[in-house]
Symmetry: C2
Subunit: 110 residues, 2 copies
């Protein structure tokens, strides 16, 4: 993907991952794979793992280690109450920005 997307993901990628976790718990490798399927083709694994460490330290998720049939044990993350609250704020912020941008786009006549 381009540099534009890279910069645009700053601040939103965290919300995206939290939103994924709000649907149901998931582990890092799984999240990466799902993002790739959904078109975020160039999101590096390392990026997701680092992000997961961050949201864990912020206390937005609960973690459970579950053995895998193939490979090392999975760290399954689930959104907790604090994370849900932060996710709600995220949607509010995103909503504001999306509204402004939509308006600007119309003004530009595109």
């Amino acid at each position: 993907m381009g540099k534009q997307m890279t910069e645009m993901l700053k601040g939103t990628l965290e919300g995206i991952v939290l939103a994924i976790l709000s649907v149901r718990p998931a582990y890092g490798y799984e999240i990466t794979a799902r993002l790739r399927e959904e078109g975020f083709s160039d999101i590096a694994e390392g990026t997701i793992y680092a992000l997961l460490v961050r949201i864990e330290q912020k206390g937005f998720v609960d973690v459970e280690k579950i053995p895998s049939e193939k490979g090392p044990p999975r760290k399954v993350y689930s959104l907790n109450a604090q994370g849900q609250e932060y996710l709600d704020e995220f949607w509010t912020t995103w909503g504001f920005l999306a509204e402004r941008l939509g308006q600007l786009r119309d003004e530009g006549g595109k």
Copy 2:
């Protein structure tokens, strides 16, 4: 504004400013004021000026120095062809992201 907005603006603020310039040329102080009116209450002046320097160096805008009735001369920026092209790319990138996020938001049932 919050830290969320700060991070989310990374990568989008540049597009926002280019979109503003696509409507009509403007100078730094004016852009800052307009953004504040439109709800981006806490965007620092320094941020805008730094951004303007950046997009000038990238060759997205043409610059003209015009004396002001009150105060030092204004640097009026206008979007050129290369900037318009970049702006188009920006809208494409934004469109993709907004679509994904909209979908995620629906899945989350919010």
